[in-house]
Symmetry: none
Subunit: 388 residues, 2 copies
């Protein structure tokens, strides 16, 4: 490094440098950072004796060019200790590797009107298939919309299908308090648009949320970068919801990260006839995810026990539901058509005549039976919803 | 009773009489039968001093007319001890009442080419909404078809929607071994056709399965009879699968019976946008049912521990197989649903409280039970899942 750069501390510069030179989620580098700290790790990497696979990249790295690149991209480079840094990423310091990726990012590029920490604090992740069906997109959009209206921002990727639908649902909330509705976590630089058809979506997210990446501006996505990116989606949010995913799916990897971080995993079911229900249904079947189908289900899993504000859904009882047992017996003993006399009814209901009469009068007051002529009773049509 | 009837033992006649005079599932009569036996219960009912609500019906009951009615209906009256009697109904002798219905039926009318015991032995119940969608009917039909092809007959009701689709799926299997593909359990006499549009379906079921009822020929369905009927569907089968059911649904009642009998409850998910997914999803969400989406899922839940219905196929030992004797005693003393306190469990398991606690902790470490709240324990669903 050529010397101090205006306004950048040594730690911030070391983080910027590592973030440029080392691939995100690299387990070896994470262990070095955990042992030596970021400045120590950066020094070791640049030392003559380094045997790191990153040492050639480190040798050609120029911090001033990197800073200019970041400035031009409109992004800010955020590190632990900054007000915008989301503390919950620290879960990655202790969680097990998933597919050989691991570790807290050394820094994040953030672009957009919101503050990352504000978006992430109460957020949930919504992930799923790029090849989502109309059903999957509908559900992702509606759930994200309901969540944001309830003050729960969305974290997702930026792919077609479920990711895009979730962001669109979040952005459709017009009366959200503040600009913290959604965050797209990218596997490329925050100045890149991948897929390119999402240019307008990216700008809408930047206007009312944030674009986030562990990769420097200008960088393109790779398969490993997607795997590393997934750990950020899981660790930034309070829980991950999977909506439609085929048997092989990147969303499955995000869910594994959520479990590894100790965050709830939630899955939205769908038709068993759809191949995109396979992963959500397997996760539920194997008790690796909780089934969720509504905002209330999600809130119940996110809220600490006993703090659930929503009471269970109550359907109104019908007149027949509210009948006493003997009333019901008499009602059921009535002939489906025509009338019955008291004696006959008494035998059918296996109840004494005076008891039958009393119950008939009570049922009559509720509009379920009527006395057609002296001593002859019949059902009205209100009883017809009573079967089963 | 006027005297002995040709070919009918006193016990069989007492059962026929009780089945004619007492409503199915009546808890008072079940307690009397459990105490006095069927003949004692019938004598008591006909005694001058009886205060039973059924005594007037008993007074006018004529066994010879009843026998003629049964003979004319083409049905046989089957009682415990008959080769055709399904032993698994004995589960109803000890299970808790559901909506104030309870007890083993005193006898069953059976009509059809199959033997009830043969249909029921390996069966599963498929239940759900009368107002099923195309999706629900498709899934019920396909699952029933797959089950019957795998040698697992179907038990259901006879309603529109899921019930009918399940029977049709079973009947569509042309190469099934023997006439034991499906049973329709009715809330009316086996000579009645309710709903009347199902006349052809009933005859198809009778030709390759059975129609079953606790009610005498000629009787019509009532709400209470449906509730009592549901316990037979649950108790006859090794497990109950619910396919599409709205928030208020008779199928929910059948599922409660299955739990009460200690049989696995399974639910097929569907689109969260459908009101008919509400009950299956709630059951899964609340861990009252296991999610199933295929024959394989169902088979995994049904196979009894340590036994396998597939010849020559050895499954690896399960967690439950490897339990110590006392652990197993405590596990088996746990209620099928809900929680139990230590004192109650100690009584059920016939083990001292500290011993129970030690075994519970060991079972908890194996993921088979959990402490729901201080001192209250419940089964997890892992004890059902033999694959883990």
């Amino acid at each position: 490094m050529s010397g101090p750069v205006l306004g950048w501390t040594a730690e911030r510069l070391a983080r910027l440098s590592l973030a440029h030179v080392v691939e995100p989620g690299d387990p070896g580098m994470w262990r070095t950072v955990a042992t030596l700290g970021v400045e120590g790790a950066w020094s070791a990497l640049r030392s003559l004796g380094s045997d790191s696979r990153w040492k050639h990249r480190a040798a050609v790295f120029d911090p001033e060019t990197a800073i200019r690149l970041t400035e031009r991209s409109g992004a800010r480079f955020v590190i632990p200790g900054d007000p915008e840094w989301p503390e919950q990423l620290e879960a990655l310091a202790t969680c097990e590797p998933v597919q050989e990726r691991m570790g807290v990012p050394v820094g994040l590029w953030v672009r957009g009107a919101a503050r990352l920490a504000d978006v992430a604090r109460a957020s949930v992740a919504v992930v799923g298939s790029r090849a989502a069906t109309t059903y999957g997109e509908h559900v992702a959009l509606e759930l994200a919309h309901d969540l944001v209206r309830a003050g729960i921002p969305i974290i997702s990727g930026a792919a077609y299908g479920v990711d895009a639908a979730a962001h669109r649902g979040a952005l459709a909330v017009r009366d959200a308090a503040g600009d913290a509705v959604t965050a797209a976590v990218l596997a490329c630089g925050v100045d890149q648009v991948y897929p390119s058809a999402h240019a307008a979506l990216f700008e809408a997210i930047a206007a009312r949320g944030v674009l986030v990446s562990e990769l420097p501006p200008g960088e393109h996505p790779t398969r490993l970068r997607f795997l590393s990116r997934n750990r950020l989606i899981a660790a930034l949010s309070r829980g991950t919801i999977i909506v439609e995913a085929a048997f092989r799916s990147g969303a499955r990897n995000t869910v594994t990260w959520a479990s590894a971080c100790g965050r709830p995993v939630m899955a939205v079911p769908g038709p068993v006839t759809s191949g995109l229900s396979v992963t959500p249904h397997r996760l539920i079947r194997d008790h690796e995810a909780e089934l969720v189908s509504s905002l209330e289900d999600i809130q119940a899993l996110l809220s600490p026990v006993g703090q659930d504000t929503l009471v269970g859904h109550q359907e109104p009882a019908t007149t027949v539901d509210l009948l006493g047992e003997t009333e019901l017996i008499v009602l059921e003993a009535m002939p489906g058509r025509g009338t019955t006399g008291l004696d006959e009814l008494s035998v059918r209901a296996a109840l004494p005549v005076p008891r039958c009469l009393a119950e008939l009068e009570s049922l009559g007051a509720k509009g379920l039976v009527r006395e057609r002529e002296a001593g002859n009773w019949q059902l009205t049509h209100r009883h017809l919803d009573r079967r089963r």
